[in-house]
């Protein structure tokens, strides 16, 4: 065994999306900070892809109380109220940080940050930079990061956390060449984002493979509500290989209209009051039902139409959409888009305290890898706010952690090397396993679920997990680890879905007849860790 490179730091941040970079910026004020990113920092993850916007209470007519209520209602009251209070209270301060660091959000004529309406919100409070809001945030954060002394390890994949006793003391990673890298840290922040790449149709970037769920779980952290996967109502259906690509909610926010193949504005049958701007779970199920019942378009979607809007509005407010569709041969100023639901966001994740601490000492988490903030269904615009609010908190908490004399157990490195070595004489390419997983998840753990379907999916996952993954060269090792992380994340989603015998928010169990609505549900979070799993039966107010 070659001796692995060892780095040492006060805070280790894993992930360079909005949450990770925000955490690293904050942590750098407390001591030496290393940021590890599977991709080039700033280019990976879903933050840079976020289009629609960032929710923050900025106007007098609006209030944190209303934002809180919208968020809880949207989340089918499964959200952790304390985390939501923090989210709504601090989102405005965190957008101010971004503005102080040079972010260029759209502004009104009176020089205020402009806001647009978004689904499930009673006040137009979604701040935006055209339809490239996440990109604007990421550019700002990366610029800010460059002025700190955070050491960035680009294109390095975190494999596993290392513990000393109860406590997380760092991580094992793989560099671009497939060599193991060891990082010791006083505190570690997990900010690896979500994981809807476990589904056949997904909006996520290539790094949305749920690595953090798996890494956290293996290190003993508890995850909650993993069954809560948001299916965004509007994903692209053509070209086939780019299916699932997000059509931002801003399209409906700007006035886009949904129609089935017969030309009917079908939302009037599902939510006559909120229509297209209903919450995502409702709109997704409406579209899925239209398609299932044979009222879909030739490419298997429904129509989303902005042709009635002034051309200039489309050009100014939806430039990325316009450009993407033009590339694919559709001028959305003149013809409708075709859309269908796509796996978008994992609401569940590592259980955190208000200070972003996980259930494992020494480990903090922020962003999409955590659970509790968004409950059973996330409101559009709340995730970007989440990355900043809890990114800062995680960075601060990690930074404040005491310095300690810890060391990485050589046995952990050895075990990891053995795991990797096995891939080098494995049998099945990871891409084959991933393809089968994605299909199984879409079919058995998608928008509509039943216990039988979920159990069948779990069977497929456990079969796939038993296959011996093959890496042709050391450079392919990371793909094998990712495939295993996807399998583990998928099993957490399915197990959570089996545990939750009710329909709530994004989780729809067709085989359960229930007598309660979300507010009166007898259930709380599902939870899963190495030690225990179950569903909380909290008495709710």
């Amino acid at each position: 065994m070659r001796s692995a490179e060892v780095l040492d730091c006060h805070v280790l941040v894993i992930g360079s999306g909005g949450a990770g970079v925000r955490a690293a910026i904050e942590a750098s004020g407390y001591g030496e900070t290393i940021l590890v990113s599977k991709t080039l920092a700033g280019k990976g993850g879903c933050t840079t892809m976020a289009e629609g916007g960032y929710n923050a209470v900025l106007r007098e007519e609006d209030s944190c109380g209303i934002h809180f209520e919208d968020t809880m209602k949207g989340g089918a009251y499964l959200n952790d109220p304390e985390l939501v209070s923090i989210l709504v209270a601090e989102a405005p301060q965190r957008i101010n940080d971004l503005l102080a660091w040079g972010a260029v959000f759209d502004v009104t004529d009176s020089c205020d940050v402009a806001q647009r309406p978004f689904g499930g919100q009673t006040f137009p409070r979604t701040c935006y930079a055209g339809d490239r809001t996440g990109h604007e945030m990421m550019m700002t954060l990366i610029e800010r990061l460059a002025s700190t002394n955070v050491e960035i390890e680009n294109e390095v994949t975190a494999l596993d956390l290392v513990r000393e006793g109860e406590r997380v003391v760092g991580a094992l990673c793989l560099d671009g060449k497939g060599e193991v890298m060891v990082i010791r840290a006083d505190a570690t922040v997990l900010a690896t984002g979500g994981g809807t790449q476990i589904y056949d149709i997904s909006t996520n970037s290539s790094s949305g493979t749920g690595d953090g769920f798996a890494i956290g779980y293996r290190a003993g952290a508890e995850l909650i509500d993993m069954e809560m996967v948001q299916f965004h109502p509007t994903g692209a259906v053509y070209p086939y290989d780019a299916r699932g690509r997000l059509i931002t909610e801003a399209v409906r926010g700007e006035g886009g209209i949904l129609r089935n193949a017969a030309g009917e504005r079908f939302m009037s049958r599902y939510d006559p009051e909120r229509m297209e701007l209903s919450t995502r779970d409702v709109v997704s199920r409406a579209i899925a039902t239209e398609i299932l019942e044979g009222r879909g378009t030739p490419h298997g979607g429904v129509f989303l139409d902005v042709t009635h809007l002034p051309r200039q509005q489309v050009e100014e407010k939806l430039p990325v959409m316009l450009e993407q569709f033009l590339k694919f041969g559709v001028d959305i100023r003149e013809e409708p888009m075709e859309v269908a639901p796509t796996a978008h966001h994992v609401m569940g994740g590592l259980r955190i305290t208000p200070d972003a601490g996980t259930t494992v000492p020494g480990l903090f988490a922020c962003g999409e890898v955590t659970g509790g903030v968004h409950g059973a269904n996330r409101l559009g615009g709340n995730a970007l706010a989440d990355t900043q609010v809890f990114g800062k908190r995680a960075g601060e908490s990690a930074g404040r952690s005491p310095r300690r004399d810890s060391c990485i157990d050589p046995k952990a490195i050895e075990a990891q090397e053995e795991r990797l070595a096995a891939f080098l004489d494995g049998q099945v390419p990871p891409s084959t396993v991933i393809r089968s997983l994605k299909t199984a998840m879409w079919e058995g753990a998608g928008i509509f679920r039943t216990e039988a379907g979920l159990n069948k999916t779990l069977g497929v996952i456990s079969h796939l997990s038993s296959l011996r993954l093959l890496a042709r060269t050391r450079e392919n090792l990371a793909e094998c680890c990712t495939a295993q992380n996807m399998l583990l994340s998928a099993s957490l989603v399915v197990r959570g879905a089996i545990l939750r015998k009710e329909s709530r928010g994004a989780h729809m169990r067709k085989d359960v007849v229930q007598t309660w609505d979300a507010r009166n549900s007898p259930y709380g979070h599902t939870y899963q860790s190495l030690d225990r799993s179950g569903i909380e039966t909290a008495v709710r107010s």
Partner: protein
């Protein structure tokens, strides 16, 4: 499903001395992008193929490659049969993966004062187009000036201008941009044309920074001299002999029936330095039924001022030129200088149509010239190819007279005020052209821009001709043969 044949550049620094091509055949779905072809190769044929991607939706700038020689995003460009995929022309790490970090780390970063506020709407609207950059570095990979001098390149200049516009930034970005090579840009527009976000760096960043530099008195002395001269004489070229306009009639009637009437915008170079070439063009037009009106009072189009950021005198020039043609009720203005044409089309708002001579001749069709027994190569003028999107027309004309050997379309160095302001840079770029010209083995270099023609002639031992001069030679040869036949007959 459809079959795609693809040639991919492979290179592993551990083992390969140099990159080589590997051919693959894969099946992909209708509408598949280049990225999906690469994924299919990776998943089904060879997992050792390395390429970078992340968002799959044109938003992260990870996946830029060269597709059939042209930089673009693998996740957005449609896969075509028989395509070649190569890494960007940047240091290659492996296969299609290039090292973006050395450049990205040089990008200027904001130094904010600390208060949280948003710039006003007008500022935001100016910054936004520059802000959509995804740092894919397609632009940097094609910038010719960066190859020959210390110039930080288009993506950095974009960022300098974005910062210069932002009231929150506290640094003097204009002076910084100058020290980072602002005046080395030839305004060749290569960066803009490959930018997947269509960011007009030369016009929206570089020229704007040069204008700000002008206000700070940082304009290069040679550029100031040119500006002074234009202000005094209406011309950017010192008179060294009789000019085209001094000798030309007000109207040139064609030989045969009139097929079209155009007003001729001569431009300073053809007027003052290469009048013989302009006269050749007039001969060709005359022979092809184009009636030409030549207003004497026309002046410099202002391009040398706009490109160098000296814009306070521009409106006067524009008005004088527009009036000169409007006064004569001209609805089509013909340019033969690529720079003037691009300026009239892109920087003016004209009440008349502007057409380059190559467009006019191919639109109306020309009398066939005789074929000359020579091989020529064609140098695309930046302001014709990219400034006006004219690529096929000159080729259509040239191939009627001679055999054409292509060479890559790269700036010769004569534009953007670089020839006058930074002669070393212009000359180094010219020398790069010399090598390409030699590779073609052509006997003559043809172009369609006086700046290119003049500059190239100093950087090649072959004769440099304008497209119309070449046509005229073809006509003369035709006439000579005809005369010979008549003598013999």
């Amino acid at each position: 499903m459809k079959k795609i044949h693809v040639r991919v550049s492979r290179y592993d620094p551990e083992g390969d001395a140099r990159p080589h091509y590997q051919n693959y055949v894969v099946e992909v779905n209708e509408g598949a992008r280049v990225l999906h072809v690469l994924q299919a190769i990776h998943d089904e044929i060879d997992p050792t193929l390395s390429f970078r991607y992340c968002c799959g939706a044109g938003q992260c700038g990870s996946c830029a490659v060269r597709i059939n020689g042209v930089p673009g995003l693998a996740c957005m460009e449609e896969a075509r049969d028989d395509m070649t995929v190569e890494p960007l022309d940047l240091p290659v790490k492996k296969d299609l993966v290039v090292d973006l970090l050395p450049y990205l780390n040089t990008l200027p970063r904001i130094q904010p004062g600390g208060e949280a506020f948003v710039p006003d709407r007008e500022k935001v609207e100016l910054i936004k187009p520059l802000r959509s950059c995804i740092e894919c570095l397609c632009c940097v990979s094609v910038c010719p000036a960066m190859d020959v001098t210390r110039f930080d390149g288009p993506a950095a200049m974009r960022q300098e201008q974005r910062l210069a516009l932002d009231p929150r930034d506290r640094k003097d970005r204009v002076t910084e941009a100058v020290s980072r090579g602002l005046f080395a840009c030839t305004s060749c527009q290569a960066c803009w044309k490959v930018c997947p976000k269509d960011i007009e760096i030369p016009g929206k960043a570089i020229e704007k920074l040069r204008a700000l530099a002008n206000r700070k008195g940082l304009t290069l002395p040679r550029h100031q001299e040119v500006a002074r001269f234009i202000r005094e004489s209406g011309r950017s070229i010192v008179r060294t002999g009789p000019t085209f306009l001094e000798d030309a009639p007000e109207v040139i009637e064609p030989d045969g029936p009139v097929r079209a009437t155009v007003g001729f915008f001569v431009g300073c170079m053809y007027n003052g330095r290469l009048p013989a070439t302009a006269r050749d063009a007039m001969e060709v037009l005359k022979r092809n039924g184009i009636r030409v009106i030549i207003p004497r009072e026309q002046v410099c189009c202002g391009s040398p001022l706009i490109r160098t950021g000296q814009i306070d005198f521009i409106d006067t020039l524009k008005k004088r030129n527009i009036d000169a043609f409007v006064f004569r009720n001209i609805d089509t203005v013909l340019t033969m200088c690529a720079g003037c044409g691009s300026t009239l089309k892109n920087d003016y708002r004209t009440p008349f149509r502007v057409m380059d001579i190559n467009e006019v001749l191919t639109k109306f069709g020309i009398e066939a010239p005789a074929r000359l027994p020579i091989r020529v190569t064609y140098h695309d003028p930046c302001h014709l190819l990219r400034g006006q999107g004219i690529r096929d027309e000159p080729r259509e004309l040239i191939t009627q007279v001679a055999d054409l050997v292509e060479m890559p379309s790269v700036c010769c160095g004569s534009g953007g005020g670089v020839r006058s302001g930074m002669p070393d840079v212009a000359s180094a770029l010219g020398e790069n052209r010399r090598k390409e010209i030699e590779k073609t083995g052509a006997e003559i270099v043809v172009s369609s821009c006086p700046f290119c023609e003049f500059h190239l002639s100093e950087h090649t031992d072959r004769p440099v001709r304008n497209v119309t001069s070449l046509l005229l030679e073809g006509y003369r040869e035709k006439d000579r043969k005809k005369a010979e036949q008549q003598v013999q007959g």
